[in-house]
Subunit: 379 residues, 2 copies
Amino acid sequence: MNRKITDPFLPPERLLLGPGPSPVAPEVLAAMAHPTIGHLDPAFIGLMDELKAMLQTMFNTKNEATFTVAGPGSVGMDACILNMIEPGDKILIARNGVFGMRMSEVASRGGATVVPLDFEWGTPVDPAAVDAALAKDKDIKFLAFVHAETSTGVLSDAQALGAVAKKHNVFSIMDCVTSVGGVPVEMDAWSIDVLYTGTQKCLSCPPGLSPVSFNQRAIDHIKARKTKVLSWFLDVTQVMAYWGGEGARAYHHTAPINALYGLHEALRRVLVEGLDAAFARHRKAHQYLVAGLQKRGMEMLVAESYRLPQLNAVKIPAGADDAKVRRSLLLDHGIEIGAGLGPLAGKVWRIGLMGEGARVESVDRLLAALDKVLVKEPA
Amino acid sequence: MNRKITDPFLPPERLLLGPGPSPVAPEVLAAMAHPTIGHLDPAFIGLMDELKAMLQTMFNTKNEATFTVAGPGSVGMDACILNMIEPGDKILIARNGVFGMRMSEVASRGGATVVPLDFEWGTPVDPAAVDAALAKDKDIKFLAFVHAETSTGVLSDAQALGAVAKKHNVFSIMDCVTSVGGVPVEMDAWSIDVLYTGTQKCLSCPPGLSPVSFNQRAIDHIKARKTKVLSWFLDVTQVMAYWGGEGARAYHHTAPINALYGLHEALRRVLVEGLDAAFARHRKAHQYLVAGLQKRGMEMLVAESYRLPQLNAVKIPAGADDAKVRRSLLLDHGIEIGAGLGPLAGKVWRIGLMGEGARVESVDRLLAALDKVLVKEPA
């Protein structure tokens, strides 16, 4: 490694089958390499309008307040929670993995009183338990939950959770970072008030952007706040002024122009394929992977009825060295898979079949590599 | 305009001579189009280490805590201020333009007591006035100021301001979004404790990233906080764990991989040219522009002694229609310049000669276009 600091960086070739980022199509990479234009250029404003329309289609919503926060999914989480809560507000957070835990951390830093509702990692959020918790404490104003838990590979029933929140007249805030583009997300039909997602999962766009949507009820709530949003950058009413929610565009921050070119192309590709076709492709690759793993005697962590197609947590076979296997897959075979997190560290691998990665060919390549790597491991 | 939602977006060609983004070199655009790899890939960790070293060179600092926040410059401002202040802390904010005002807004949302110190827009921050303000109120813990005010084109004396802060034993927080790469920034020599910058100005990288640096004194201060940082995403101690400040890398957020490829290439290009050569190029283009404008009877807003080479505020000639001229430059000639902000709206144009834009050829193209557009305007 005699690299000088001024040597160009050339990334190695990887097949990204971890929890994200997912493989990015050459067309999306090429779109990001288009020349930069100004963030107030009429041509760029046109791009923003098209992005909004495409995101509305992705989320199945008519919400005007549908736009992109200029940071990765974690910033979307910050944005959604910190705009909705005010210090002292009570928020029920359903937690069945890393990202539910993170929501708690975000909300409590924002001054909210967090009412946690915990579920075993590897199982979904139970709408009946949420219903009971909301019935018990009438001061709760918000329900936050993760639609598709990337840390475990579990899909929760967002439709049922949205209905429970509506029944108790609390705002629902949904993390759909890993669900959008891989499984249906029906924001309006499910009565979800606020959601955020990421670009680096089933949309197959590089990380760095967080599309969000707020319905009118949520926007009215934010406009009626007694305190200002803690972060100037994340204040939705100001960001919306730039995204053209009401009247003239006002300069807020400098939008990440080229990243948004990439997102435009990535969304375009999903819509040209069609959402239903994309969902079917994710399911097909998933079923093919599960069959292949099971044929090799390996076992899935999550029960079939709430298993995510795009994120597959598989139990590490007895005798296999977790880190060594992942390292060999990466360095000898150019394939990235993910480690387990929290209580699942060392117990599962997380295999992502997201966006462009959700193909039978990817699974074949992974299974072939896994066969070679596991044979080399002591039994 | 019969665009379908699924038509690809092709940006028009623009010469970016506004307040940012600046023109991006084809090599930087190409770097961003390299295939995405994982944010925990050893190859990517290597990239992060190189970025850190290059940023240290840019800032002239040895600070370990030198890294990139995954959002535009406004997020860097949020990150630096919200990590340093705790509710009730007093912060002196020197304000001589839009970005000093924004710092106040960020600090007061974070619960700080802002002591504003205002200077006329178009003039620099006066170190003697800062000295007097700090002498008067011993409860003040922080001094925040903007090195290069993008809204006016004024350079303040950061060396003197750093010395004043040190004398009074307060932390200095410097916005150097527009200065880095265009004029010298000597973080360690000037005793600056915390700084943030952006990528879309004199580094000629697309917007979306904010390099920051904290010295050890600032990090110790953050570690001794009594309250948690309000934003989970921006908590420097956690971000540092990912950037490898101390011990093993911990997953925090998904880094914007391809944007960081671009920043690596942009920094590499500046360092290959050499900082002194880059500064000289900015000065030369600036002097050439000023001469050209003055020859046409136009007048600069800012006095020569503290005029920024990279951001030139020129008074709009009598009789010229501000918006119409800018629109014609953009749409008829493909050249973007900036409008005035706040009290300077309608009074000045802001001409950026930043990074790749700081070339005599760019100035020639602008002056030629300006001649055509102004002739068409009613006198």
